[in-house]
Symmetry: C2
Subunit: 244 residues, 2 copies
């Protein structure tokens, strides 16, 4: 008998607001040892107050120029720039940015939808790995925690959820050096387990009806007592990247 994966969303969570105790809200997940809890970053951001009000934004020259060229709100663009270490592409109204964490994604992860009130933007948590570790430590049976966001991809349409914060789940399962049944070395392979777990969780999440937390069961072999290096281990250094 092989492995079996199961995933389901926690039901009945309230709207999360700044200052909420996320661990208290997520406490009754019925976790078993070895479970993985995948949480949409938005509720982490909201609980932590990782929000920006459009009203208070002082717009600089670069934001004004980008906003004009791409038909965007200059205040939104300024917040995107504030969250970015670099703007990699600005074309056809899309800003692809590298965030201060090192994630490459549209608009540096800044999002106006699902914000707690009009005129407020949700930004990414300041340190998603730390957020994941704190949440894990506060939950019964310490499930591994993945904080997920939906990222577009180069070359392919559509978005997949990926891990932007991890505590206790293998980020990369490195198969390099292992051999196939005939003894040949396998093609260089490091499976992005946490990203695949985030993707699996997304398949059961209803984004409109508030299902931001998903339990994934069946990955215990990738769950460690130690919190591990987090999603930082997934970031390819810019100097090694072929597509910057």
């Amino acid at each position: 008998v092989g492995l079996r994966l199961e995933a389901w969303a926690l039901q009945g969570l309230p709207e999360v607001r700044p200052g909420d105790d996320l661990a208290a809200l997520l406490r009754d997940g019925g976790y078993e040892p070895g479970d993985v809890l995948v949480v949409a970053h938005k509720i982490v951001s909201k609980a932590e107050g990782a929000l920006r009000a459009l009203d208070g934004v002082a717009v600089g020259d670069r934001a004004r120029e980008l906003a004009r060229d791409h038909g965007k709100d200059p205040r939104l663009v300024q917040v995107i720039l504030d969250e970015s270490a670099a703007v990699l592409r600005a074309e056809r109204g899309v800003l692809i940015c590298r965030t201060h964490h090192g994630f490459v994604c549209a608009n540096a992860g800044v999002d106006a939808s699902n914000a707690p009130e009009d005129g407020t933007l949700v930004i990414l948590p300041r340190d998603p790995d730390a957020s994941a570790r704190a949440l894990r430590a506060a939950l019964p049976h310490r499930p591994a925690v993945v904080i997920a966001d939906s990222f577009g991809r180069a070359w392919r349409h559509g978005q997949c959820d990926v891990a932007i914060g991890i505590a206790g789940l293998t980020a990369l399962d490195d198969w390099r050096g292992r051999r196939d049944p005939r003894g040949l070395e396998l093609r260089a392979t490091a499976i992005a387990v946490a990203d695949e777990a985030a993707a699996a969780a997304d398949l059961v999440r209803d984004k409109v009806s508030r299902e931001p937390a998903v339990v994934v069961r069946g990955l215990a072999r990738h769950v460690s007592d130690d919190d591990g290096p987090g999603a930082a281990a997934l970031l390819r250094p810019p100097a090694e990247d072929l597509f910057l």
Copy 2:
């Protein structure tokens, strides 16, 4: 009660050889209506004879040059070029190619590991959407079929399985125009359902011990009687791509 996703690998499959009837090998999966069968492309390629023997390869000048510059077998490089519409990057021993199908991946999907015998390369199926449709049609209860391969990503370490052939599963679940609980339009969102299903399936697959077929249950809402446009719908046209 929300959605529930389950995934498990079929057990006891034999080594697949050219000319094998894949549908016959996969017939006893216990499929229920609405199931998705995710199949590693390698067994499709092997059954279809999508293989190249290194011995018969006539190496051209460009392959010889690339092989020299990147420390690769010139015959392997020639097969990679044969499978490629374009070589996008050739750096540090890595060839990132766009295949004739339009997929962007390392080595145009050409793989020497897990080949049926030494000196043989497994290439991608000629028309993976057609392969998926044929397999679906021949299986009891016509599960949706996804043919998967492991692709690296720009900007992130590690590989995730993605769909290179699809029959009967939504490739992109388009949420554009839908609204959040406050009535705000959701951020442009098209969820790459078939890619996420491929990723979920990969989490239960043991790549060494021959578990190339995974049943994913719980996605019936994305399974259609019609086979749909296939994985071709996932390909961003080169003219629209910001990272070519």
